[in-house]
Amino acid sequence: MLPLGRQLDATVVARWVREVRAEAKRSAVGEDRVITTEKARSRYYEIVLRALDSRPPGADHAMIDYSYEDLYRRAGHKSPSTLYFTFGRGAKHALADRLPDETRRAVGASDMVRTVVMELKTLSHWPYRQGWLDALAGTDDRRFAAETLVRVLADWAGANPRLAAHADYMPAASAVEDLGVICGRRTPAADITAFLARVLTTSVGPRATSAADVLDLVHARLMAVLGFDRPGYVLEIVRRLDEPIGEVGYLVSQLRPDDRAAVRAELEARLAALNEVVEEERWA
């Protein structure tokens, strides 16, 4: 299997963002064909953000209280054609079109407005994702990757509480896809989305004190989503120990008996600690 970092680099959303960024650059240097689409894309994102910013502090930001007609009218368009050309089915750079059906349905991009919101959330979260990947570099530790994904998502939500809550706490599509990769694609997208929505609800709610605390609050559920409450993953790691344990066995056989005692003591201490955990009756 590819290392985790390479898998995360090759997700649908990662490829989409690279394309959209490339288009935005071409738009900036004035390629006419591109200008209209990219300007429209940015324009629609701004309209959603302005709609959120204009709400009073106690408003329900989870709610969408505007329609697709509101979107294209506020954009100064007389018809929805630009909206559909930019975000709709068959549009060249529509994220909704790229995502697998299961993911698109799970994320909740069920209509044009929610599709725009989905793209906006994904792009807003993107620099956070990049920072997460910067620090993940080289690790294949799935628990570490998942736990830090949650902390970083919580940070994004803390900095963008209204956007995080919007459209019923829809998570960034990148986070849904990334957690799916980390889970080895064994967990349904709907379960992942529901879990990440809970992360967002917690992050913008009254009990949010820090990203680390948000992780603590949802951690038990994260372990279930990852499937770590079942033996599959830990057995996978145990089997990976065959090689280093085999090497230890070979190297120990090269030692004098006196020197083997020191190795035995180190091994016994570790096995004793592991045995204590294995025999702990937490579920009793």
Binding site: W126, Y128, R129, W132, D134, A157, A159, A212, D216, L217
Partner: protein, 339 residues
């Protein structure tokens, strides 16, 4: 409410660094390994400038971790320097500056001289009053400082300090249980520091009764600390620093409840686990408790353990600190018991 870093939108570069920091911290908090965090800081300072709030936040995390392997005096100097630099570029109520200010007060208090302990109480009280006015009494940052004030009072232990500390912490725990619930890390911290303070009160001969509070109860401290041990064990595993710290309070509660043999067993386990996993505990804490437990059970190792406690404390705290005084007093007492 509690997590907003800044009132202005973060730039993409700042957001990226914030996330990189959050991720690097996750590993560093467990392993104490600084490299990734140091690399994030260097990259951030080069791109955004050393005075950028996110860069200062990363530096904050770095200094906390560096504190594990240097003396308290060195840490106080480092935090004082960081406070001076951050104070020039950040508003008084910026979350990063507030964190740095708190850390400076905390480390200065940890330096442990009488003047430092007095300063801790004054500084936390001032900070608390300022936060009450700025954010309100029930804001999480105000509540956190209030608990710190209680700890400063407890450790100063002047006339009336311990009953005041108990009162503040009882109120604080009630608030946290009501607002955050039993399953929240903020509540767990409240439970643990109250347990420690109850144990101090028990050992100081029930100071709380004079203040109209219930008599300090070692069994209650045992229950409170057991709760935190269980949740942290479940969440972090038995070898994590947070779990081991809760375990130390639990062992202390066993000792104070008259179960010295059980306390000894637990303390041996804690020390072995910390050694194996490379988790740093507050220098001398486990050794002081172990020496006391061993002296109760008549274990001849008690003096040797007390000497180790003194050595660890002298390596980390100033010679005129209360922490060193505690270890030396214990050694003295055990030495006096030798025939």
């Amino acid at each position: 409410m509690g997590m907003r870093f800044s009132d202005r939108p973060l730039s993409d570069a700042e957001a990226r660094l914030l996330a990189r920091n959050e991720t690097a911290l996750h590993r560093a908090e467990t392993t104490g390994e600084l490299c990734r965090l140091a690399a994030a800081h260097a990259a951030g300072a080069a791109e955004l400038g050393p005075g950028n709030p996110v860069v200062l936040l990363v530096e904050c995390g770095l200094e906390e971790l560096r504190g594990r392997t240097r003396t308290v005096r060195e840490s106080v100097r480092a935090w004082e320097d960081l406070l001076g630099r951050a104070g020039k570029v950040l508003a008084e109520d910026h979350p990063v500056l507030m964190s740095i200010r708190t850390q400076y007060i905390r480390h200065r208090r940890m330096r442990g001289t009488r003047a430092d302990l007095d300063h801790g109480v004054r500084a936390y009280r001032t900070e608390w009053q300022w936060r009450c006015e700025r954010f309100g009494e029930d804001h999480q940052r105000t509540r956190a400082i209030r608990a710190n004030l209680a700890l400063a009072l407890r450790d100063r232990n002047g006339e009336g300090d311990l009953p005041d500390a108990l009162r503040l912490l009882e109120d604080e725990l009630a608030h946290r249980l009501g607002r955050y619930g039993t399953g929240h890390p903020f509540t767990w911290v409240g439970q643990l520091v109250l347990a420690q303070t109850i144990l101090r009160a028990v050992e100081e001969d029930a100071a709380g009764t004079r203040a109209g509070l219930p008599a300090p109860d070692a069994e209650r401290a045992l229950r409170l600390s057991q709760t935190v041990v269980d949740v942290r064990n479940s969440r972090f595993g038995r070898a994590d620093g947070a779990t081991l710290r809760a375990h130390l309070v639990h062992a202390h509660a066993l000792l104070t409840s008259g179960r010295a043999a059980d306390a000894t067993g637990e303390l041996h386990h804690i020390r072995a686990t910390a050694r194996r996993s490379g988790v740093p505990l507050e220098p001398g804490w486990a050794e002081v408790l172990l020496a006391r437990a061993q002296s109760v059970t008549g274990d001849p190792q008690a003096s040797r353990t007390a000497r180790e406690a003194c050595r660890r404390r002298l390596d980390h705290f100033p010679v005129d600190s209360v922490q060193v005084a505690e270890a030396l007093t214990l050694l003295d007492r055990l030495g006096a018991l030798r025939p």
